[in-house]
Amino acid sequence: MDSLTRRSFLQGAGIAMAACAVPGLVLRDGRLVPAETLAASLPPTHEQMKSVLVTALSRGGTYADLYLETRHTTQINIAESEVTGVEYGVIQGGGVHVVAGEKTGYAFAESLNTKDLAECAQTAAQIADSSGPQVEIAGPLCVKTFNKYVTCSQPIGDATITKKIDLLMRIDAAARSVSPHITQVTISLSDTVQNFTIASSEGHLHKDELPMIYLRVNAYASRGDDSAEGRFRTSARLGMEFFADQMPEESGRQAAEQAMRMLDAKPAPSGEFPVVIAAGGGVMFHEAVGHGLEADAVLQGSTVFANRVGEKVASDMVTLYDGGSFSERRGSFNIDDEGISARKTCLIENGILKGYMHNQRTAKSMKTAPTGNGRRQSFRYPAIPRMSNTYVTAGDLAPEEIINQTSKGIYAVSFGGGEVDTASGQFTFGLREAYLIENGKVTTPLRGANLVGSGPEVLQRIDLVGSDFAGWPGTCGKAGQWVPVTSYCPTLRVSRITVGGTA
């Protein structure tokens, strides 16, 4: 530089002065980098982790775990064809979970410091009272290996923000090129790398690293007085290979094309109709029965599916599974957040209820094995029974046949989410893109409407199941914590369900 502006001179001086003031930092290429890691931020040793668990169980208890986590998240937002925000942050800390029978104590700290974690253990331990059962950890914690389902070939951490912005601009351009009626496109890309360690009173220690990418595209179309919104969501436990080939362009196009189709949408009808759920509408099962099969609701007596193992709870065409052992899906993992190996659990087989989804606490209470469904949003929450990748297996019928066989009804193509009251079995989920079926043909596009019904009743009314298969990413909220999930299913028909339209 031949001339140093006052500002840049001051900047240089400022950083140099800061470097002197703060031990352990070195100025390199104009940037401040840590010279070494300070002892205070080293994670605990295995022995220290065990001693935290012993403290956690010092007043009694049937189970305890220590969950340490470091998670890096980047988010980039695009609107009006430019970057409106870039965010990056790290969360790091540990939580101690103590279970005493049906009771749960939990405390967490935003620190990996053993002293802080021991304090959490003391706080969480208060839930137990010394007269109850005690569990002892025999011997040192044993490091466990496990099957890896999740792999990534191009780590997210190696990709620059500039490279990600370029991908998003391709999405934006592709969406806008669908039609001059596309007036707005907003895009959000978030990626996460999560490192966690789980030490449990079962005597095990597990460590794992998981990536996650979540892409959301909204497109807005406007023509005369009509306007409509189209959405595309995609997510995977992958690295940057997620964006291979024309995937960015395809994402933008799908959102914009849905917005264009919905410009012509008319009000949905009102009343009971046959509804053909397109492949990918698995959210229906997530709400209609999924939550009702989480074992904590069973223990609490707050689900209509309690005490019904062995009974027919759905049409004999329905076989339903849940599990984390898939390679790319958003709901996948190698081990759950209590260290239990991922697997596929059959929940309903040909309409018969086979079992529930468990975490350590519910499995012990119901004297059965955990199913790898113990999940938590982060170290700030205890693990509870949660779904992961929930899916209905495909049948034999060609999907077009299902529409042909429906003289009047609704064809539901894409969904926005739903809710359930597991105690009464009442559930609802919302349509974002749907069409009328008239005389076995797909006709008029319909504005979004809710479907509502009783889970057990609706499941019995599934009368046609197709041979295709697809799914959507989602984020499931329960007890104030959110976990990533997917729901998959083939095209299938519900013979009768209430549609909340206006026409």
Binding site: V86, S270, G271, G301, S302, E419, S424, F429, V452
Partner: protein
């Protein structure tokens, strides 16, 4: 546990570091919170969760481009890393058409008042409150099971400092209380619940009343069935009416309006609702659950009338959208958590009470549905599509009298038509939730059952 002795000094220091590292403008947002979550079921503690948290976010702007970095590590190295990360990101971004605007300093802007008694309340006292709620709930005849009584409390401080000289500090307290009851009869199960939010314990309703309400909501649904599909009146209650205001917030967001994706974009000054409809957002209300003195950008909070006698009077604005729309900033740029960038949101947001009693509104309804609860209404929220559709439970009204309980039924309508036709507004407004309404009636909506 890392404790922050001087939060204002810390927040100021990180802004200085950012400026010296190359930022032309910056702001920092620090949130400290002591949190307790407690559940009681069948008379005993079922779970306790506790934590002491700290979170810091730094926004920096360089050549008009802005980046945000966040951390929970407020030690020296953590702060240095934070500043470098934010600066490194902002440096490589292209300059946007509309750079982020930072708030100007305002004289004499002080923080909110938390509940000073909160810190002193023992765990036993919190447990006793929940036990009392559950007891009252179980005492309602017909209640057969408890989903528990739950309490959560956050007690803390927020600080906002920026390079324009804004230096704001505010303590806060926030409480949530809920209870859930089950009523089983003839092989069917019904659920009833009650949920309350407040910024101080003195605003919490009498525990007995909360428990009894949850119990009654379950029991009153016994025997609920679907209604035949029809068009009829729908009476929204305080427990359900807030969903309509929530849906309305989407097209009222200033960023949606400014970017041409709102069905209320060209409606300022026009009659968009019935004259009985006045809707206000007021963060300054001391009794409101979302009481604050300034927003997440440092703009002073003010009471704003969004819709006045049915006429659209204001959008929800943050600094950026206020600038684009040429209006005074509304102070609606909120940070949902320490690591969120400011985004437009509502505070104590309500439909102003009318003078009718809820009983008289029911009596004057020939046929319709009195709502008890809604589900899934939020799926369709959109700033460009005003379709409102929700699963409901409630009571069918015939000739001004409640005839039977209803569930597995849906209501639907156009939000603009609903607002335009509201013909009764009740006098029963309370502020036990951040978005709230009195009872009000929409004379006709589609009701879907069998």
């Amino acid at each position: 546990m890392s404790k922050v002795d001087n939060p204002v000094e810390l927040a100021s220091r990180i802004v200085d570091v950012a400026l010296r590292a190359g930022a032309s403008e910056a702001d920092s947002y620090l949130r400290l919170s002591k949190n307790t979550n407690l559940s009681v079921r069948n008379g005993e503690i079922e779970s306790i969760k506790q934590s002491n948290t700290v979170g810091l976010a730094l926004r920096v702007t360089i050549n008009g481009a802005t980046a945000l970095a966040h951390t929970t590590d407020t030690g020296q190295i953590g702060l240095m890393k934070l500043a470098m990360q934010a600066v490194d990101m902002a440096k490589i971004l292209p300059k946007p058409k509309d750079p982020v605007v930072y708030a100007e300093a305002v004289e004499n802007l002080t923080g909110a008042h938390p509940d000073p008694a909160l810190a002193g309340e023992s765990m036993d006292a919190k447990v006793s409150r929940l036990v009392a709620i559950e007891d009252a709930m179980m005492s309602v005849s017909g209640v057969t099971g408890s989903g528990g009584a739950h309490y959560s409390e956050a007690d803390g401080e927020t600080v906002l400092v920026n390079s324009n000289g804004v230096e704001l500090y505010s303590p806060f307290s926030h409480l949530e209380l809920s209870a859930e009851a089950y009523a089983e009869k003839d092989g069917e199960s019904y659920t009833g619940g009650r949920y309350i939010e407040a910024s101080a314990r003195r605003h919490l309703k009498d525990p007995e009343l909360i428990g009894k309400d949850a119990g009654w909501r379950a029991v009153s649904q016994i025997g609920a069935k679907q209604v035949p599909s029809t068009r009829a009146s729908v009476i929204f209650t305080p427990y359900t009416g807030w969903t309509v205001l929530s849906c309305l917030a989407a097209p009222l967001r200033g960023d949606n309006v400014a970017q041409g994706r709102s069905y209320l974009a060209d409606q300022m000054g026009k009659q968009i609702a019935a004259s009985a409809v006045t809707i206000i957002d007021d963060p300054t209300m001391p009794d409101g659950p979302q009481h604050r003195a300034f927003d997440g950008e440092g703009v002073p909070a003010r009471k704003i009338t969004m819709i006045d006698g049915g006429v659209l009077s204001s959008y929800f604005t943050d600094l950026s959208s206020a600038g684009k729309l040429g209006v005074q900033p509304g102070g609606h740029g909120l940070r949902g958590s320490y690591n969120s960038k400011p985004a437009i949101g509502t505070s104590n947001y309500y439909l102003v009470a009318g003078d009718k009693t809820p009983e008289s509104i029911i009596k004057e309804t020939k046929r319709g549905l009195l709502l008890n609860s809604l589900a899934g209404w939020w799926v369709g929220i959109s700033p460009v599509n005003d379709a409102f559709s929700s699963a409901v439970t409630g009571f069918w009204i015939e000739d001004g009298e409640i005839a039977y309980p209803v569930r597995s039924t849906s209501i639907a309508g156009s939000l603009r038509e609903m607002l335009g036709s509201i013909d009764r507004v009740g006098n029963d407004l309370d502020f036990l939730a951040p978005t709230t309404t009195p009872t009000f009636r929409v004379p006709e909506m589609a009701i879907s059952g069998v």
